[in-house]
Amino acid sequence: MSAEAYRVRGPSAIGGDPRRFWNLARTLAATDWKVRFYGSALGYLWSLLRPLLLFGIVYFVFSRVVDAGAGVPHYGVILLLAMILFFFFSEVTAGGVTAMVDRESLLRKVGFPRAVVPLAVALVAAMNLALNLVVLAVFVVASGVSPRWSWLVLPVPFALMLVFATGVALLLSALYVRYRDVRPIWEVVLQALFYATPILYPIQAVIGHSQTLATIALLNPIAALVQESRHLLVGGMSLGEAMGSSALVAVPLAIGVAVTWLGVLVFDRMAPRAAEEL
């Protein structure tokens, strides 16, 4: 036999074969994606139709009925952008919490790099995000936002959001294997984060109240990314301006990096024992 003998190293988070890792993650994500609309008559069309209808309602309510924007230009569009980003974060992390437990039968029967599981959740959410952004484009055009060069930079905060959300998902999925309280706690935390993030209200409303409060609110990496994305999409205050100092931008970035790193570390420690602790 020609094959080289190799040592069985036991389960790990990433494994030694990036190609296999990617194959697994995308296969899992593809089937997850498929099962989401299984049995519905319109199938994949829903993945576009649903956000279109939902965003339409939000857009109508907040920019025509309730004038929450208080004179902020294109309020409906930036509200949608913020919601899309937050729901992406929420989908990745809430899905991440139960991901390992949901895939128990696979984890207990096949040896494969464990991080594939939460990563597949992130990939599915990323596909959803991409479709939502397509729908958003419809609203951007409809509300007459003129194209900007800064749109070319938009993928950067989106990518950072993906990385951060995945890091949090890794952390939560690892913790949930051992502590089942993580799930209800995270539901509450997500709710709190939703209101702590300037989504339904513009950051200007907070600044008008207290600059310190606005700065504190923007230390939250999600809020920071949302604010910067808004700025890149329609102009208005950049993150640095909203925080009162460009140097302060480093703080939410550092928090984001730290949390992501923590997620990777915790997951990496848990991965080898995941199958026996499930």
Partner: protein, 422 residues
């Protein structure tokens, strides 16, 4: 320290140990943790595998047998990269496909089609290859018409068929199969056998966990017997099957001694296959005056042996066999049939065992054979010595009989024939 296995070895397991930590009380919520913050959660260690070592050659079918909880599945899961081992190392040559707990981890909410694709990729195929082979996987499982049915609507037999079919289609070099052939109908079982035989002929290596000793003997070249995480023996499949039966039917108290005897034996394997856990040092005939080779008819006599234990042993069975000069058995006695408790003995102990009776033997020469066995319906020989001692019984002979039992003659006239009643 880590040496790669020889070229013809497909699987090497070297001193592998695995301990599970079983929480003594479940403190899985934060509230419980907070309430018991000062108390460190305590765990009971469960030694699932203790220093297991063996090698499987390429193309070999290797059985892994043992009673429930002996560590078979844990061993498979360690090899499959599902569990992390605590000590030792494992080597594999070529790609490995596991078939554990009757499946390859299907998702009940997905269709057979999607599950097949996921699992084929999990087991190492490229997604494109998985799609190419999908059809032959469904053909083999004979489930084409149920391809779009969700797995939760499959019967367990159908799921096993599908899983097995995936496993044999991923071109693995080493197959780890845990209890597959127990399920499914006879026709599919035969199909499994056929495909496994073919895989073996193609040079694949198969590790098969099973409870079915018939399967082991028919199908495996060699096998490993595990008991509570310990390696009892690695041997040809027939021998292992016999030892497994012996272990399985032994009373709980006796199992330990079997295991110890076997581990001692396999531990000494270098010293020769007959390295036993006990040695009969001597055996002799005796009368009231002591050891003798000349016995008087009718006197109290006995047979005795001196045994030295090389390993700890519990309730060994001692047996004596007396044969005459034509090697005909005259008397066979065992402590087991006498229901005599023989106790536990440590390595290095020496024990004299004697059985006494009145000499009713016919004159002639007799031979004593002795053996020490482990208890059970199919006792394993620990020590045996044939014709270790000869003794002569004096006298003028028993008139050709084997024994000279006490006897009296009676002569009485036959009752006279009465008139027939009829």
């Amino acid at each position: 320290m880590s040496r790669a296995p020889a070229d013809d070895v497909a699987v090497r397991v070297d001193g592998v140990s695995k301990t599970f930590r079983l929480p003594r009380e479940q403190l899985s919520t934060l509230k419980e943790r907070a309430l018991h913050a000062t108390r460190r959660q305590r765990f009971d260690p469960l030694l699932a595998l203790r220093g297991v070592s063996f090698e499987v050659r390429t193309g070999e079918v290797f059985g892994i047998v043992g009673r429930n909880g002996s560590g078979k599945s844990t061993l498979m899961k360690c090899l499959a990269g599902i569990y992390q081992t605590d000590a030792g190392e494992m080597w594999l040559r070529g790609r490995m496909a596991p078939f554990i707990e009757l499946g390859v981890g299907f998702n009940p909410d997905l269709t057979a089609h999607d599950n097949v694709l996921i699992n084929a990729v999990m087991l190492g195929l490229e997604p494109e290859q998985a799609r190419e082979r999908y059809s032959s996987i469904m053909d083999f499982a004979e489930l084409h018409e149920f391809a779009e049915l969700k797995l939760k609507n499959y019967s367990s037999g159908m799921q096993v068929r599908l899983a097995f079919s995936v496993m044999v289609h991923v071109d693995a070099d080493v197959l780890l199969i845990d209890e597959v052939l127990a399920v499914g109908d006879a026709a599919f079982q035969q199909k499994c056998y056929d495909v496994l035989s073919r895989s073996r002929d193609e040079g694949r290596t198969i590790l098969l966990v099973t409870h079915d000793m018939g399967q082991v003997q028919r199908f495996c070249d060699r096998a490993l017997l595990l008991d509570r995480g310990r390696m009892v023996a690695v041997d040809d499949s027939r021998t292992i099957a016999r030892k497994y039966m012996q272990l399985n039917f032994a009373a709980p108290a006796q199992r330990e001694s079997i295991v110890l005897a076997e581990t001692a034996r396999s531990g000494d394997a270098g010293a020769g296959a007959s390295a036993d856990s006990a040695v009969v040092v001597d055996a002799w005939a005796q009368n009231l005056a002591g050891r003798t080779t000349l016995l008087e008819p009718g006197e109290a006599m006995g047979m005795a042996m001196r045994v030295r234990f090389a390993a700890a042993i519990v309730e060994p069975v001692f047996a004596f066999l007396l044969t005459d000069e034509h090697r005909r058995p005259v008397l066979a006695v065992t402590t087991e049939r006498s229901e005599l408790a023989t106790g536990s003995h440590a390595a290095g102990d020496e024990l004299d065992v004697a059985v006494g009776f009145r000499n009713r033997l016919a004159a002639g020469r007799y031979w004593i054979s002795v053996q020490v066995t482990l208890p059970g319906p199919d006792p394993d020989l620990v020590a045996f010595r044939e014709d270790v001692s000869s003794s002569d019984v004096s006298g003028t002979g028993g008139g050709g009989g084997v024994v000279d039992l006490p006897h009296t003659f009676e002569l009485t006239p036959a009752p006279s024939m009465q008139k027939a009643d009829w």
